[in-house]
Every structure is written in structure tokens, then in C-alpha cells.
Symmetry: C2
Subunit: 308 residues, 2 copies
């Protein structure tokens, strides 16, 4: 699969020069350093050794179900030495986007999301309504005339395990109002768990709301460059000296290409070498952006260059 | 807007020849003969007079929330003289499709739908599971390992006011099993109610399930020809002598074009004359199929030719 424009297996003599060429490594989480609650063997050593070798390490995850603090705590139990400020999940980044780009500090949003998203919104001064179950009552006419909070300025869609027809309806009623903003965390359609299991992702919920509202949401998650901009602006990163490591071509690797980063695919998650080859051979410039510079079976393959 | 290939306002001298040229009139319901629980003025007289004038009259609705009997009862309270056998809703047609085309008599399906859909399925000997609320409990791992009924051979999606993340997940888990069929009633994204109000339609729910399952459902509702075939095969209709009356270009009028029927748009529902003109002027053969032969402000405009 290697070649002048292709993707190369990262091993042996290629390892050290690549790591020497970067100051910063950005990791996706699900499918890269863990699957569900199962840590990828060697991932903690890789992260800790990268830091010991003077690299900056950050975590960019489209998963919106945890706050930065919750991620840092999960990582601590798995043996990673990570501070909350090094984690850029979509719960945090979405809150940052709403407060800075949308200027919604002090305003209120209708939130389809998790308690964690609510906490990140509160931390930046964005009020919210909508958390938790919203079961259906009454008739169609009641649904169409459901009371709306006049303070709501935006509908925000993340992962919501309490998603329901009534929430879909309420989001649609807000979105048909003049000037209501529409922001989603990400478009991942499935969440991969341990043992090859899957559950529906935020992309399914967002698709239902977009179909009802007949509008497209602005999403902050990968492959949108906003997520990298968020890290880069806070830490003054040189993008040419950053490596993005992920398991998905359509989010992680595309983000890296969009932002001019070096890219590394790990084969412990969603995408396969066959997926890479299909993009390489497509002849389509858009699909070529999803071809990583390098690939490895697992992040553990970086260990030899770090322990040496 | 009239012209050799365009759409003509149906009035005056055009009325009687058109009605003389057909034996059968097929009506959509929502937006044509009623909006929500509000009957369109004159609709009952038109239906009753058509029958008195020897025309066969049928009702083709994508709405899956009622059985044939429930529709006939609703119509009776509004002054229409209609038998259950004259109503072809997607609850009934979907059941017919599952029992005849899919050969699922005696088998079981996972149903996202209404109690009415359940009743129509039972009437043709298709068993089902899934009706009613399905609230979330446990963790992601529990959702991924949710117990599945081994007898289920298909996932069927109609309008389900109890739609929830757990139902989305359960549907996806069934649909990733080998050989599981996937049938939807229709793709209407919004349900129009009285006073210009709307609520989300089955299309939003179906879109969420399709996104999660990474598969397309086979839909039985308009514009799919199955719904007309269902009526035509039972009553031996001559399609050249049928008139399809509806308020939506992308379902009713497209069905009529797909099946070689005469088509009439009423302006009491979703589509407008501007929509017709946009299709006419598109130069796109697929969009030209959504241009009706005729249009009227309301079905009441047929009255003069029937009372004479």
C-alpha cells in the first residue's frame, strides 16, 4: 500500500524520524486508546512516554457524553497521566463554540444531550433546558402547540440517551422559529464498543432532527477544523509539527488533512486497510484527503521508538 | 402556467370532460379532504356525489396511525359515506406487503409503529413485538447486548409516538443480523395539521433508523407504486381511467405519474403553484413527473360539475 502519495505502515526505521518531526500528538479516544471500558494494551505507556520525551499530548474525541474532568478521571483509572485541560471532547468544544463563535453567554439553548454537556455549557455561562426524559402525552395538536421557552436562541444536539419523539418535535418547533441557531456535536453514526459491539451514535439523532427541521446543523466535531483550532489557539501549536492519531478515516484522518497535520491511522477501531486502499484508488480528491500518511496495527506499535 | 406539457387550472369547461374520462378517483386524505380534525369544506359532498355519479372512490394515505376501520369511522363523523374496504392507508398496505410480498404470515416483526399498525398486522397473521414505550436503562454495554427476539424476521417502521433511543438501538441491533428485512411505511418528513401547524413525520424516524443501520428500507407508501397496485389488483382498475387527487407533488402526484394515472393537485395542503412551476421549469425529467395534469384551490372546486 505504500507509495509516493500512498499510506505507509509505520515501523522500524520510519518510527523515530516521524516522532522527531513533531512536538505534539493528538489522539482520538474511542477505538484508539480504549474500546468502551477496555484500554488498548500499551496505550497508557505510549501516552506517558510521549510526555516524558517532551511531547505535548492532547485528546480530541467526538464523544459528547463526558466532561473534560470525567475524561481525565477515566484516563487516570486506566493508568494515563492526563489533565482535564488536555482533553478536547465535543461536550467542551461545543460549549466553547456556543460561547465564543455564537456569542451565547447568558443566553439559553434547547439541549438534546447528556448531563455532561449541560455541565460544560454551565461552565461557560450558557443556560440550557431539555435534559432528561421527555415522554409523550396528549394528541398531535398538543404536540404541535407544545409550549416553547421564549428565551431559547439555539437547538444543540449531542448524544442523548433520552432522545424521543417528543424531543424531536420540540427541537423542530424551535428550529422553525426565525433566527434559531442549530448546532450539533458530531455526525458519527455509530459508537464502537468492546467486542465489536455497536450502539447508535449522535449522527442518527442529528439526522432525525435535520430531516424534521429541513435544515442542516453546524457541527463542531471532527472532521470540522474547529476542534483543532480550539487546541491550537489555546496552546499556540505549529500545525506542521503535529501528528493526529485516529481510527476513523472520515473524522480523524480527514480532520488532520483539513488542518495540515501529519496523520496516523490505528487499526484497533472502525476503519480498515481496505478502506484506505479504496480511498487511494478512487481518484477522487475529496476521498484522497482520507488517506493517512501512516498506519499501525495499534498505538502500542509506537513503543519501540519511545523506550529506546 | 398552462401549456402543452404544463399544468392547467381545472375549472369551467375542463371539469366535466375530465370527470367523464375517469371511472375511479383516488384521494389522499391529510391536506386534501381534511387537515388534522378539520374537514375541508365541500369535501364530503364531492365524495358522496362522485359515488352517486357512479364513480369508484378510494383513499390512499401514507399516514400509518389508523386502521381502515378507524379511517372509515373518522370519515363517517365528517359526513363521508365510506367503507373500510375503500381505504388504503399504509398501516393496512404495509401489512399486506409483509404478508404477500415478504411472505411473513406466521412470522414475527419488530414494529416501530402504532397500535393501529399492530392490528392490521394481526389481521393478516403477522406477529409483532415492540409496541409502546421502551425507556432506556443500564449502560452502553447493556444497550449493545439488549436481548433480541430470535423469531423476528423484519424491522417495520411506521409512525411511532413512542420512538426513543432504545427503540432506535433495538432496530439497529436487529438490522445488523443476517437476513433481517427492513420495511418502512413512508418517507413523509412532516405531518401537516390545522392552522399551518406541523409535527415530525415517519420520514424522520425512518431516517434515524436507516442512518444507524447503514441500510435503506423498502417503503410501501406513495410515491411507491405498491399502494396503487394494492387497490388496482383488488378492484381490477383501468389505470388510464383513474384520477389521483393529492396535495403533495413528491408523493401523490409522483405516484400518479409513476402509475400512468391522471393527476390533480389541491392547494389546501403542502405543495404550492410555485412548487409546480419550479418542477416545470427545471428541465429535469425526474422533476417533470411531479407536475400534475391539473390543479384546483380545493376539492370543492369539483362540485359544479357534480351537482349539474
Amino acid at each position: 500500500m505504500s507509495g509516493s502519495k500512498g499510506s505507509a505502515r509505520l515501523s522500524g526505521a520510519l518510527l523515530k524520524p516521524l516522532l522527531d518531526s513533531v512536538d505534539c500528538v493528538l489522539f482520538d479516544c474511542d477505538g484508539v486508546i480504549w474500546r468502551g471500558d477496555q484500554v488498548i494494551p500499551g496505550a497508557a505507556e505510549v501516552i506517558n512516554l510521549l510526555k516524558k520525551n517532551g511531547k505535548r499530548v492532547f485528546f480530541l474525541t467526538n464523544n459528547s457524553s463526558k466532561t473534560r474532568r470525567m475524561y481525565a478521571e477515566k484516563m487516570a483509572t486506566m493508568g494515563f497521566s492526563v489533565a482535564p485541560e488536555e482533553v478536547f471532547g465535543t461536550a467542551y468544544c461545543c460549549a466553547a463554540y456556543l460561547s465564543t463563535v455564537c456569542q451565547l453567554q447568558g443566553s439559553k439553548v434547547y439541549l438534546l444531550g447528556s448531563a455532561a454537556m449541560g455541565q460544560e455549557l454551565e461552565a461557560v455561562g450558557v443556560r440550557h433546558t431539555g435534559l432528561g426524559p421527555d415522554h409523550i402525552t396528549g394528541s398531535q395538536s398538543d404536540w404541535a402547540n407544545v409550549p416553547l421557552d421564549p428565551e431559547v436562541k439555539a437547538v444543540v444536539v449531542g448524544f442523548d440517551q433520552h432522545f424521543s419523539y417528543m424531543k424531536l418535535n420540540r427541537a423542530m418547533q424551535y428550529l422553525t422559529q426565525q433566527g434559531c441557531l442549530f448546532v450539533g456535536t458530531n455526525r458519527d453514526t455509530r459508537l464502537p464498543l468492546e467486542g465489536g459491539k455497536i450502539v447508535p451514535g449522535t449522527g442518527c439523532i442529528l439526522q432525525a432532527v435535520e430531516t424534521a427541521a429541513q435544515r442542516q446543523a453546524q457541527t463542531v466535531g471532527k472532521p470540522n477544523h474547529y476542534m483543532f483550532d480550539c487546541v491550537a489557539s489555546q496552546y499556540g501549536l505549529d500545525r506542521a509539527r503535529c501528528l493526529m492519531v485516529g481510527d476513523r478515516l472520515d473524522t480523524d484522518i480527514l480532520l488532520g488533512s483539513n488542518c495540515g497535520l501529519k496523520t496516523l491511522l490505528t487499526l484497533t477501531g472502525v476503519s480498515t486497510v481496505a478502506d484506505v486502499e479504496a480511498h487511494e484508488q478512487s481518484g477522487c480528491p475529496e476521498r484522497r484527503k482520507m488517506v493517512p500518511d501512516y498506519y499501525v496495527d495499534s498505538v502500542a506499535d509506537l513503543l519501540p521508538a519511545l523506550q529506546g
